[in-house]
């Protein structure tokens, strides 16, 4: 056995080398370097960095800019994930009937999966833009909601985040629909039949059979959607630019690190601090989602 292990070592090294080289150079090394740079301050122009102490992590965490961005991010998650999941379940349940023409509706519900963040955001920009947009050209809507034209849904600090969230929910709807549909189809039909025989009505069947058996899919989708929402960038880059300012109503944690015109400028040190804090937050969050949700998840047999 031992000689075999040694014989395989050479082959294994050769096979693993390409992947290991790439992952080391472009995942592990930059991660370590980001942790290190997180305690530095860097000149935006010369790119020269100087140590400023590990306290920088705590300083950034406690800074009003970061906390504001974190609040915006959490709001964005709360505006996108529950709504997205709810709509995904509604669409999937509605389309889970073998009626004529259902294939068409399924294709429509899946269609947004094909839009990239740039495509989806530009489509919504064209809808919402206050001077050239589509909605602003619909008089009765503007009469009902003057904010559409002045200053514009994306330009008003009260509605900008919700408007960006709407675009994001729309773009992710196809993904959630596909997942929940697959979840529904994996539920054994005889469970519904026995529930029906036991006298359970449509609603009872949904709450007592469908929802519990969907829970693994809902958990998976919520984890993916939450992490996508935390990492969302294109929506804000194209729709709001992190604004409106000075409230920075749509500057999320990710946007704070990568966006143009944010308060941290081009300081790669501070950017690294934020990037690492984002990483840690996402780790804690997915661990918590799996633990908290996991207890109630029904994996069946």
């Amino acid at each position: 056995m031992n000689s075999r292990k040694r014989r395989d070592l050479g082959t294994a090294a050769m096979m693993l080398l390409p992947s290991l080289a790439i992952l080391s150079a472009f995942v592990l090394y930059p991660l370590g370097r980001a942790v290190w740079m997180g305690q530095q301050r860097c000149n935006a122009v010369t790119k020269v960095c100087r140590s400023s102490g590990w306290g920088q992590y705590l300083d950034v965490l406690q800074s009003s800019q970061f906390q504001n961005a974190l609040v915006v991010t959490v709001k964005f998650v709360l505006l996108t994930v529950p709504v997205g999941l709810f709509l995904g379940v509604v669409l999937a349940v509605l389309a889970d009937k073998a009626i004529r023409g259902i294939g068409f509706f399924r294709t429509v519900f899946t269609s947004t999966i094909a839009t990239s963040v740039a495509v989806a955001s530009l489509m919504w920009l064209f809808l919402l833009q206050p001077s050239i947009g589509v909605l602003t050209n619909v008089p009765f809507l503007v009469k009902l909601f003057p904010v559409i034209k002045n200053p514009g849904l994306l330009q008003d600090s009260g509605t900008a985040l919700s408007a960006a969230a709407a675009s994001s929910v729309w773009a992710n709807l196809g993904f959630t629909f596909v997942l929940v549909t697959a979840g529904l189809q994996s539920i054994p039909r005889d469970l519904y039949e026995s529930a029906f025989v036991d006298g359970a009505g449509g609603f009872r069947r949904f709450t007592n059979v469908t929802l519990p058996l969907l829970s693994p899919v809902l958990l998976f989708s919520s984890v993916v959607l939450t992490s996508r929402a935390f990492q969302a960038y294109g929506e804000f880059d194209l729709l709001t630019g992190g604004g409106p300012k000075p409230q920075f109503s749509t500057t999320t944690v990710t946007y704070l690190a990568y966006g143009t015109g944010t308060s941290i400028g081009g300081d790669d040190g501070l950017k690294s601090t934020i990037a690492i804090l984002l990483f840690v937050i996402l780790l804690i969050l997915s661990a918590a989602q799996f633990r908290g949700f996991g207890k109630r998840v029904e994996y069946g047999n």
Binding site: R4, T11, V27, S116, A118, V119, V178, L179, F220
Partner: protein, 281 residues
């Protein structure tokens, strides 16, 4: 009596079905609305671009053509295609190699290397782009295909996906191959890879979609139209040509078409792949 019940059932059934279709149609209309207005704008001549955004008027291909050439979408598409081709082919090769090692080879430190691969899955791209950008900068790779491809030539995701399917190959096959003395490379080429071809296709599909839709990284590392991908090119088009919204919408349509085509052709594989992680069994 019986006919009465049947009649009531039929009437009930009719209203139920009508209700369901109505709801489905309303939802479909809401979902399609942004796509519809985009298409209307993209096929409308520039002179009447802002008139009646909901009604198609004298449809023309001229704006699409203008976006393709004047808006550089043609160049961006070519760049994206090159980047995707390189990344997809390379990821399949590197994933096959490392997945094979984890599935079939015994070597010291296997678990450690495997957990290192596992750990990289937890790192969000946004956490490492700042430092990756500095690496690319010091290598003088800014604005090149190297910057767009080399960091993505291997992924732990591909390795895991293929390791799972390699592990399902019956042990007896492997033992028989050892008897024949074709060695690991021979077994990989002749038996393992042909057996998992559908999974290679799924991996390639995901890799293509992920690479094509990448936004932040291409925006960071490309500076000129020579290397801009479709997504980073769209950003440039949108910010430089907001004066002609139908040109921007035409660009958006061009950028979306390949993905819609892929979705229609590979719908089944895509859905099977997407749901593999979420639904057990």
């Amino acid at each position: 009596m019986a006919t009465d019940v049947a009649a009531i059932d039929r009437v009930n059934g009719f209203w139920r079905r009508a209700g369901r279709y109505t709801i489905l149609a309303i939802i479909a209309a809401v979902i399609l609305f942004p796509i519809y207005t985009t298409l209307v704008a993209a096929f409308k001549p520039g002179s009447i671009a802002l008139r009646h955004p909901l009604l198609p008027e004298s449809p023309t291909f001229s704006v699409i053509k203008e976006a393709w050439t004047g808006g550089h979408l043609g160049k961006y598409m070519l760049n994206s295609a090159i980047v995707c081709l390189i990344v997809v082919v390379a990821q399949i090769i590197t994933s096959v190699l490392s997945a094979y090692a984890f599935a079939f080879l015994q070597f010291p430190g296997r678990m450690i290397v495997f957990s290192i691969f596992l750990a990289t899955l937890l790192v969000p791209a946004e956490a490492i782009y700042v430092t990756n950008f500095r690496t690319i900068q010091s290598l003088n790779w800014i604005d090149s295909f190297r910057a767009l491809t080399i960091p993505f030539l291997a992924t732990a995701f591909g390795t895991f996906l293929l390791r799972q399917v390699f592990l399902q190959i019956p042990k007896e096959l492997h033992e028989a191959a050892e008897m024949d003395g074709i060695g690991h490379w021979g077994f990989m080429k002749e038996v393992a890879v042909p057996l998992v071809r559908p999974s290679l296709g799924a991996l390639g599909l995901f890799c293509f979609l992920g690479t094509w839709n990448q936004y932040l990284w291409p925006v960071l590392v490309t500076k000129t139209n020579d290397y801009r991908t479709v997504q980073s090119g769209l950003k440039v088009l949108a910010s430089s040509r907001l004066d002609s919204p139908n040109l921007v919408m035409a660009g958006t349509v061009i950028a979306a078409v390949p993905i819609f085509a892929v979705l229609i052709v590979f719908q089944r594989q895509l859905i099977r792949g997407l749901t593999a992680g979420a639904v057990k069994g």
